[in-house]
């Protein structure tokens, strides 16, 4: 019994410590830039927003703010276009996160969406 509890605790500890690392894993920031633009393009195409240009720029937030947003998966609240965000794969999200994080306000190369 004791052994089982130990194994469960160890497993839980491992999951808790490793999970954020997976959640924050960054993808390809170049791909992320185009995927991010496509989200807004698709959202604009179905008439949910007025402009296809992303309303939220990478330099609108700091790196830690981006990390928190992706940690909470609060995409609709931050970006709108819920339908499009739901359709994204984990890889797509990792790419977008890399783009936004690497060009955040406190990054070495802050950027706005073109």
């Amino acid at each position: 019994m004791r052994k089982l509890i130990l194994i469960i605790v160890a497993a839980l500890f491992a999951i808790v410590s490793v999970a954020p690392a997976f959640a924050f894993e960054k993808g390809n920031e170049r791909k992320g830039k185009y995927t991010y633009r496509k989200v807004y393009q698709a959202c604009n195409d179905r008439g949910a927003i007025e402009s296809a240009k992303p309303a939220v720029n990478p330099d609108d937030k700091t790196q830690s703010q981006w990390t928190r947003i992706f940690e909470k998966s609060d995409f609709a609240g931050t970006f709108g276009c819920e339908e499009e965000w739901k359709a994204l794969s984990q890889d797509d999200l990792a790419d977008i996160y890399a783009y936004l994080h690497d060009h955040a306000a406190d990054s070495p190369s802050p950027a706005k969406c073109k």
């Binding site: 170049r30 791909k31 185009y34 073109k114």
Partner: protein, 540 residues
């Protein structure tokens, strides 16, 4: 009693007559035509709102291909516009050199010219400055036609870099992304036309490294201005694009000022309808005000801009002071920036101390259309402020007129041994903005220009003028006579000529007062005489 009644009748009649004359004048004024200069300008503008484009570039085969580089787009352009490439190579926009300057020490950004902003382009070796050149990669690649003619804001540099990256990445999604990028590139390349304010403004609004830094009368507020900011460019009025006045022949654009004036002829379109339209007089004529108005007598000595641009930087601030000697301070070993009350930097470790101002009253100087500049190859006198750029002209110069200027003041580096202004290399991995090492920046800058550097440096006060010619205010905002014709008026500091209301000429003053008192004395004596001898008349 009878006399009193008669007097009242006459007074009433007189007042009535005055009212009638006043009313007649006001009716005349309402119906009177506008000033001839305004009428002429309206005629010159007729039909300009119409779309002159006769071609839809999105239907052209050469522009439908998948472009992999900027140069391929240029090839597509010149496959039809066969002479354009060669024409552009002869312009200032390409050479960055003043063709009228000494070929041994040519002036211009690609030559030995310096200013008191970012100082020098180091013969185009400072790559940060070269981002505003009209080539795809400075002069090293072909002309980027889309810099001036592209109607869509599109980051070609980024798109081509991404295209190259994905082509080499081997990523399974790469092909789809590349297709999207190429679609975007072709779409932007197909949207071409006459240059807009945004095309020109992409560089000219941001000269000196930021919005409104260099010119007080050119900043991003002119991208979509209202009439109150600029009567010509106002989107709620005439909506002029830059090319309306900066007319072009063979890609040579009128209006650039170095040693030679932007225009040598002060002609209107009536006199020569094929001439450039860069002067106010081109459309408004040399007699722009209503006939017999005194203002028409001013146009040979006072530039239109002097009265019609009462202030510059009316929407956004402009930089007025730049002290390079304060650059290089660090906080915790890192460069920092301090923002001022106008939302602009007051201190930057990489650039030094700055002062900004809004709604600035210009300074007025005599100007015949030429600027005298000091290059990095010339000797200076460090004991007094160096006039890096200063207008040529005086009250005696028949071609000179009083003109409004922004004078940008500052402190910039010079070589005390060679008595010459220094041109430090600023950007890039070895520039001052990265290394914070003046010595190495001066050495690299001098090498780029092939000029000597003694190894010693100091900072000298300097002035740099910009003629103010944009941001023309509505006529109601034009200066009144008293703005200048007053003891402490706008022209109080301008010497070398007599101006009524401002200056005193004792002999003329005495003669004037004598005339006034003499007239008063004469009238008084006459009245007294009539009064004293009035009874004689009655007796008769």
């Amino acid at each position: 009693m009878k006399n009193e009644k008669q007097f009242k009748k006459r007074l009433f009649a007189g007042l009535l007559a005055l009212c009638l004359i006043g009313a007649a004048f006001s009716v005349y004024a309402e119906k009177a035509p506008d000033a001839p200069g305004l009428e002429m300008a309206r005629q010159a503008q007729q039909g300009m709102a119409a779309n002159w484009t006769t071609a839809d570039h999105s239907t052209f085969q050469p522009l439908k291909k998948k472009f992999a580089t900027g140069e391929e787009i240029t090839e597509a352009c010149i496959s039809c516009h066969s002479e354009a490439d060669e024409q552009v190579h002869k312009t200032l926009h390409w050479t960055w050199l003043d063709p009228a300057s000494n070929p041994e020490y040519p002036k211009g950004k690609a030559g030995y010219s310096v200013n008191n902003f970012c100082i020098s382009a180091n013969a185009m070796k400072d790559k940060k400055c070269s981002t505003c050149h009209v080539g795809w990669n400075g002069k090293e690649e072909k002309v980027n036609c889309l810099t001036c003619h592209g109607q869509e804001k599109f980051n070609f540099t980024e798109a081509f870099a991404d295209l190259k990256y994905f082509a080499e990445s081997g990523d399974e999604d790469a092909e789809m992304i590349m297709s999207d990028i190429q679609e975007g590139i072709a779409g932007a390349a197909q949207k071409v036309g006459l240059p807009t304010r945004d095309n020109c403004g992409a560089c000219h609004f941001y000269g000196g490294g930021g919005d409104g830094v260099k010119h007080g009368d050119l900043d991003s507020s002119l991208s979509s201005p209202d009439k109150a900011l600029d009567v010509h460019m106002g989107v709620d009025g005439q909506n002029f694009q830059c090319t309306r006045c900066h007319t072009t022949r063979n890609h040579q654009i009128a209006g650039r000022v170095y040693g030679t004036p932007a225009a040598t002829d002060r002609k209107s379109l009536i006199e020569d309808d094929l001439m450039g339209k860069i002067m106010c007089e081109s459309c408004h004529t040399a007699q722009p005000h209503k006939a017999d108005e005194k203002l028409n007598d001013h146009t040979d000595k006072v530039a239109c801009q002097s009265c019609h641009i009462p202030a510059f930087a009316r929407k956004l601030p402009t930089k007025m002071w730049w002290d390079w000697s304060k650059a290089g301070k660090l906080k915790d070993g890192k460069p920092y920036t301090v923002e001022g009350p106008l939302g602009k930097e007051e201190y930057m470790s990489i650039k030094g101390e700055m002062k900004w101002a809004k709604d600035v009253v210009p300074e007025y100087l005599w100007y015949n259309g030429s600027l005298k500049t000091v290059t990095a190859a010339e000797k200076i006198d460090p004991k007094k402020p160096v006039r890096v750029a200063w207008p040529v002209g005086s009250a005696d110069d028949p071609d000179a007129r009083i003109y409004p200027f922004k004078i940008h003041k500052g402190k910039q580096p010079y070589d005390p041994e060679n008595r010459a202004l220094l041109a430090p290399l600023l950007s890039g991995p070895y520039g001052y903005w990265t290394t914070f090492d003046w010595q190495s920046a001066f050495v690299l800058g001098a090498e780029a220009l092939e000029l000597p550097y003694s190894g010693k440096y100091d900072f000298v006060r300097s002035d740099y003028v910009f003629p103010t010619t944009h941001m023309v205010a509505p006529r109601e905002e034009a200066l009144s006579c008293e703005a200048c014709h007053a003891r402490e008026g706008r022209l109080a500091q301008l010497s070398g000529f007599y101006m009524p209301g401002r200056d005193r000429f004792q002999l003329l003053d005495i003669a004037g007062w004598l005339l006034i008192f003499g007239t008063l004395g004469g009238v008084t004596l006459h009245a007294l005489g009539r009064y004293v001898f009035r009874k004689n008349g009655k007796k008769k």
